[in-house]
Amino acid sequence: MTLHAVLIVAALMFCIGLFGVLTRRSLVSVVLSVELMANAANINLVAFSRFGNHPWGQAMALFAIALTVAEVVVGLALVILIARTHGSTDADVPSALKG
């Protein structure tokens, strides 16, 4: 097991998540895919911590987890709000930001 191996696995994970963000229609699924991407980033942080022999990486990963949780909480609250106001969780429906 080398650093590169872990990084590539994480990159693959990230790309899977990205694919999900780009293709899924439901907002819940988009949030779910974003989770996968964040998870990939966390793997990287822990890997750097181990192979770089520095505790900050893990500390950052811990912070990132907390941040991700906050993000999910707010994101899902928004999804629920959108579902309530638009009657749909389809990512293509809301258009309030359209120029």
């Binding site: 780009l22 988009v30 990512a91 309030a96 359209k98 120029g99």
Partner: protein, 592 residues
């Protein structure tokens, strides 16, 4: 006692009247106070002149790097001391006279009038005692301000407003030259003293520029157009500012800055020609005027022309002497004219006639002034005019000399015309109810009539005081002038007194002159030149310069309208944009 009092008293009076409005609103009392100050000033001036002392006080007014570049203060020397007497004497007479002449004015307005009169005395004294050209120019502008305010004394009258503004416009236009002149002087000498020795070119430039200012203030052709209009002011104002003192400031400037002018012979030649032309043409115009004050106004122009022409000969005494004598007899004439107007209620000499029976004192005083102005031997005007013509002859300025001689004849003629039309002949409608003026008006005139008649007799001591020489002698030029003057009087009496020689009229020329051709030229320059130019500039600014600014704003707005379409509002599109960014970053990293 010092010249400082002459400055302090009037300005204190002005400040008092300006700030303390209850006093100002008393009108007549304020006027008496102000007149008392003016009389006191006259007394001080006489005392100073008699003491023969010299004073110089300078306060550093403007500094530069800690060094003085301009000072203010007073310089008392024979030139300024003699001028001070003229100024304060006329001012005191005029203020006393005004108490009678303006007695029917509302008290508020009267207080305002005397405040400005006090300010004028301050400014004029400041001009006369100026230790350098900067103070002279500063006070020059201040007397211009007083002129503006006093011409516009009846500001409710539209014509008075126009005349006041016109006076400033024209004199300020000339002051472009004056200001440039003293700036050049400063550039050359680092100061504003008039007694520096200047290089010939510099002297010529400075003198020429200063002379432009003189032409405006002293109403020389073609910048004389404001003076006749200035007669819109009350008659005492015309006597003080627009006959005796302020308009003579230009001549006084030349006298003061004589070292500069003397070093610029080319400018002197121009001066004598300008003066000669003004003396002659203004006299011609005076021939056809029907307003008694306008006659005197053009006569003032003409006499100022004499002074300028005389100074242009390269000798100072004639012009300066004429300044002093003219101040007295022209002030007298104006005050007498005011008395006539006061008596008849009109300015138009065609509506008068036979007034001498109703107002004998006025008639006599006006007559004395006329004789002095006409240059009848023995009267003040004779000596100064004679000397001035003599100087022109000596200097070989024959062209201006001829013009001046012809003007002398015309002067005698038009003054006789006024005398005859106003005082002799049968009484017209308006004259029936006329009355002699009160003593408060007659007394100043009587006082002024003394120097108007006799000032010339003291030309010798006067010249001596200035360090010059004067001896009266009978010369051919003087003889010709006297013949012209007597001839003018004779023809005038024949034409207007007896009614003979009716062929003596210039209908075509009169029509032309009465239409004020130079005025119309200036008006056209204003109406068709400057004003449209300014309007064009305003339009250009509003619609081209500002248009370009608005154009840039509009481009930004329109660009925003287009660019906002990039915002689709779909989350996915923004993620794609981020993807593009990641790929570009990676590519950039790969290239490193």
């Amino acid at each position: 006692m010092s010249a400082a009092l002459l400055l302090a008293l009037p300005i204190a009076m002005f400040a008092l009247l300006a700030v303390c409005w209850p006093l100002r609103h008393t009108g007549r009392f304020a006027g008496m106070l102000s007149a008392a100050v003016a009389v006191a000033c006259f007394g001080i001036a006489v005392a100073l002149f008699a003491s023969g002392r010299s004073e110089l006080y300078e306060y550093p007014w403007l500094v530069r790097s800690g060094h003085v570049i301009a000072s203010v203060g007073w310089r008392l020397d024979p030139t300024s001391a003699s001028m001070l007497i003229v100024v304060t004497a006329v001012a005191a007479c005029v203020q006393i006279y005004s108490l009678g002449y303006l007695s029917h004015e509302p008290p508020k307005d009267l207080g305002r009038y005397f405040a400005w009169q006090s300010l004028f005395i301050f400014a004029m004294v400041g001009l006369v005692v100026a230790p350098n050209l900067l103070q002279l120019v500063g006070c020059w502008e201040l007397v211009g301000l007083c002129s503006y305010l006093l011409i516009g004394y009846w500001w409710r009258k539209p014509s008075a407003g126009k005349a006041a503004v016109k006076a400033v416009w024209v004199t300020r236009f000339a002051d472009i030259g004056l200001m440039t002149g003293i700036v050049v002087l400063y550039g050359a000498t680092g100061g504003f003293a008039w007694d520096h020795v200047l290089a010939p070119q510099v002297a010529t430039a400075v003198a020429a520029l200063l002379f432009v200012g003189v032409m405006g203030k002293s109403a020389q052709m073609p910048l004389h157009v404001w003076l006749p209009d200035a007669m819109e002011g009350p008659t005492p104002v015309s006597a003080l500012l627009h006959a005796a003192t302020m308009v003579a400031a230009g001549v006084y400037l030349v006298v003061r800055a004589w070292p500069i002018f003397h070093a610029a012979p080319d400018v002197l030649v121009v001066m004598s020609w300008v003066g000669g032309v003004t003396a002659f043409t203004a006299a011609c115009i005076a021939l056809v005027q029907t307003d008694i004050k306008k006659v005197l106004a053009y006569s003032t122009c003409s006499q100022l022309g004499y002074m300028i022409a005389g100074l242009g000969s390269g000798e100072m005494l004639g012009g300066y002497l004429h300044l002093t004598t003219h101040a007295f007899f022209k002030a007298l004439l104006f005050l007498a004219a005011g008395s006539v107007i006061h008596a008849t209620g009109t300015n138009d000499i065609r509506e008068m006639g036979g007034l001498w029976r109703k107002a004998p004192w006025t008639a006599g005083l006006f007559g004395a002034g006329t004789l002095a102005l006409a240059g009848i031997p023995g009267f003040a005007g004779f000596f100064s005019k004679d000397l001035l013509l003599e100087e022109l002859f000596e200097a070989g300025r024959y062209g201006p000399l001829v013009l001046c001689l012809a003007g002398a004849g015309l002067t005698a003629f038009y003054m006789t015309r006024v005398m005859c039309l106003v005082f002799s002949g049968e009484q017209k409608e308006r004259v029936h109810h006329a009355h002699e003026s009160p003593f408060v008006m007659l007394a100043p005139m009587l006082f002024l009539s003394v120097p108007a008649v006799a000032a010339g007799w003291f030309a010798g001591p006067f010249a001596e005081r200035l360090g010059l020489e004067y001896h009266f002698s009978v010369t051919p030029v003087g003889g010709i002038a006297t013949i012209f003057a007597l001839g003018g009087v004779g023809l005038g009496v024949a034409r207007y007194g007896i009614g003979q020689l009716t062929w003596l009229a210039w209908p075509a020329a009169a029509t032309f002159l009465a239409s004020a051709p130079v005025d119309r030229l200036w008006a056209a320059a204003w109406r068709q030149g400057l004003l449209p130019f300014a309007r064009a500039a305003g339009w250009f600014d509003r619609y081209v310069v500002d248009g370009l600014i608005n154009l840039s704003g509009w481009v930004a707005l329109e660009g925003g309208e287009r660019l906002r379409l990039l915002q689709t509002g779909k989350v996915r599109d923004y993620v794609y944009a981020a993807v593009v960014g990641v790929v570009l970053l990676a590519a950039w990293g790969a290239m490193q």
